[in-house]
């Protein structure tokens, strides 16, 4: 009898640990999540006090809207570009900043390099607008170096705007990857590098054949988290370009916002949100699968 009771409490232990977290998440987010899905099935929510049920009409509208598809395509470019940028810059810097140099200097460089992370998006966006402005510093330097003859309108030229946005997003996002990768680097056994050195490996060989494979789980996890976040990154894009010029940098999150708060079409916005949810869920399943494999 007591044994059974004990068994039950033992079985219950993990649930007790999860309880606070799940309660908070559940209490605060399950209703909003449910609401968003519900909104997407009605017409004119919020604006109308008594919205009408339209079933999947919003989805049909959405899927036939070229604006949605182009925003989707932009999102894809932006997400992949940003994540790739974060990874390349973040990993590169992590390697550099992990080098065997004076510890004080190392602390200094690490702290400096993490700076882009600690400013709020409004400031980051405005600052980059200043820098990328036709009369701004970037153009000035490029002209001074003779790389361009005319000032370029980085954020106003549809051919350049996405690149500029990727630049800003990369700048803003690499520190997270850098810090994660840096902590990962500490776990790579030194012997592996030594073995590789004896096998005749140079810097790049060591990176490709030792560092990367060793940190694959870290990279995979971090990349997927980054992917999910970048996929719905809103403030930075909205404040930097507002989706423009035209809709050249419109991504799904800015489209959602535009639908919701510019056009007050909350139902349509919810529909886009649900579509983002579905796509992110695919990422997440990928992530969980990867994690299961790691265990």
């Amino acid at each position: 009898m007591t044994a059974m009771l004990r068994q039950m409490t033992t079985r219950g232990t993990p649930y007790l640990f999860l309880l606070p977290g799940l309660v908070i998440l559940g209490a605060l987010l399950s209703v909003p999540l449910y609401k968003v899905v519900e909104y997407s099935l009605y017409d004119n929510v919020i604006v109308e006090r008594n919205p009408t049920w339209v079933g999947l009409d919003n989805y049909t509208t959405l899927l036939t809207d070229p604006g949605y598809w182009s925003a989707g395509l932009n999102t894809l470019v932006f997400t992949i570009g940003s994540v790739a940028g974060h990874m390349v810059v973040g990993i590169g810097l992590a390697l550099l900043v992990n080098a065997d140099i004076n510890p004080r200097a190392r602390t200094f460089f690490r702290s400096m390099l993490v700076l882009p992370w600690i400013f709020t998006a409004v400031v980051v966006a405005l600052n980059w607008q200043l820098l990328l402005n036709p009369f701004g510093l970037v153009n000035y330097v490029l002209q001074w170096l003779g790389l361009t003859s005319e000032p370029l309108d980085w954020l106003g030229n549809p051919d350049l705007a996405m690149w500029s946005l990727l630049l800003i997003s990369t700048w803003r996002g690499y520190p997270f990857i850098m810090v994660s990768f840096l902590s990962g680097l500490q776990t790579v056994p030194r012997e592996l590098y030594e073995a590789a050195e004896i096998d005749g490996a140079g810097f790049w060989h060591k990176f490709w054949h030792v560092t990367l494979p060793q940190l694959k789980p870290v990279i995979y996890g971090v990349a997927l988290l980054d992917l999910i976040w970048t996929f719905q990154l809103f403030p930075l894009v909205w404040l930097s370009t507002g989706g423009g010029p035209g809709r050249a940098t419109e991504v799904l999150s800015t489209l959602t916002f535009r639908l919701a708060f510019v056009d007050f079409q909350f139902a349509q916005a919810a529909t886009v949100a649900v579509s983002i949810l579905i796509i992110s869920a695919a990422f997440t399943l990928l992530y969980l699968r990867n994690e299961a494999r790691r265990l």
Binding site: E194, A195, A196, D199
Partner: protein, 355 residues
């Protein structure tokens, strides 16, 4: 197959000196084992030969080249690490092929060599596995295979067997011996385990605190130690080393007297350290020849085929041996016979052998 010359090798870690001028000269094809207590500088020496540590002073030559400034890959060496350091993401095949791939060897040639070595080490079945799916002994073999495929002039081993269990350790020891007989490369091998040192080495180098204490063949080291340190270090259970007073007829050990010949250089009345291996102390019934003394037995350890007899002589705890089937009781005095023909004598101050 290259000669290795290590001349006056010095290593500084900051202000701390880890090696104080090491000189070793290893013949082509010789199997040289470095032993010594933890922290004595064995790994440091080996890693300097490999090129993994910078050289603070002195010179290392492999073959005819001084390799001081060379990178590891230019030294013609291969190394097996204590914890194997296999690339976890590569298959056994690729672990072994990696260095060949880096050296841009043609694919078919790589394949031929990897398979040949795998055959020797009985790894052929495992070529597609990753290290994570191997047992300890198999990993160890892969680590060796990785070194062997390169066909280096010199092999370096840093405690390659210390992570294996006793049984496997014995097997792999034999395997390494066989490999050496077959490949005939020059080998430097670091170990803690004196059985490995004794069975594998052509030459043993005993180190202590960054200096060489003695070097020579296993027989020399074991049967003709130069210092009390070497005498105590080699042999398990270790040699009994007891502080004795020299008497005209032999030695005074605690209250008992043992009759034996002492080297001429020592006079009666002097103190001396006397070393006697446990094998040379046996119950009088086992070994009729020696000098019998009756001493109290404190503990008997049954090892199976033999028993260790712990007894005390004055303030010294000493160990003798007997066969596994000899009946002997703890806690009672026992007549023990000391075979003093194989006793060693050392100067208590300098620790040097008195011959």
């Amino acid at each position: 197959m290259s000669r290795i010359e290590i001349r006056n090798l010095v290593k500084m870690y900051g202000a701390q000196q880890a090696l104080h001028g090491i000189d070793i000269s290893i013949e082509p094809g010789e199997f040289c084992v470095l032993v010594g207590p933890s922290g004595c500088g064995k790994s440091t020496t080996l890693r300097m030969v490999a090129g993994l540590e910078t050289i603070s002073g002195g010179e290392i030559a492999i073959g005819d080249r001084v390799v001081n400034g060379l990178r590891p890959k230019e030294r013609g060496i291969a190394m097996v690490f204590q914890n194997y350091a296999l690339y976890p993401s590569k298959t056994v095949y690729n672990n072994m092929a990696f260095s060949l791939q880096l050296s841009k060897m043609p694919k078919p040639e790589i394949d031929r060599r990897v398979r040949e070595v795998a055959e020797i080490l009985e790894l052929t079945q495992l070529l597609d596995r990753k290290p994570g799916a191997l047992s300890g002994g198999q990993r160890q073999r892969v680590a060796m295979g990785r070194a062997i495929v390169r066909d280096p002039e010199v092999f370096l081993f840093d405690e390659p067997l210390s992570n294996l269990d006793a049984k496997l350790r014995g097997q792999m020891r034999a395997e390494i011996k066989r490999l050496h007989q077959r490949l005939e490369n020059t080998i430097i091998y670091v170990t803690h385990d004196q059985v490995e040192a004794m069975t594998l080495a052509d030459r043993i180098v005993i180190m202590r605190d960054g200096r060489i204490e003695q070097q020579g063949t296993p027989d020399e080291i074991f049967h003709d130690p130069d210092t009390v340190f070497v005498a105590g270090f080699m042999g398990s259970p270790p040699m009994n080393l007891v502080d004795c007073m020299v008497t005209p007829t032999g030695l005074k050990l605690g209250d008992s007297e043992i009759a034996c010949a002492t080297p001429e250089r020592i006079r009666p009345g002097e103190r001396v350290i006397c070393g006697i291996r446990p094998d040379d102390i046996r119950p009088a019934s086992d070994q009729p020849g020696g000098a019998p003394i009756t001493l109290p037995v404190t503990l008997i350890e049954q090892l199976g085929t033999e028993k260790l007899v712990h007894f005390s002589a004055g303030s010294h705890d000493m160990i003798g041996k007997t066969g596994g089937r000899t009946e002997l009781a703890e806690g009672r005095p026992q007549e023990l016979s000391f075979d003093m023909t194989h006793a060693y004598f050392f100067d208590p101050e300098s620790g040097k052998r008195i011959r």
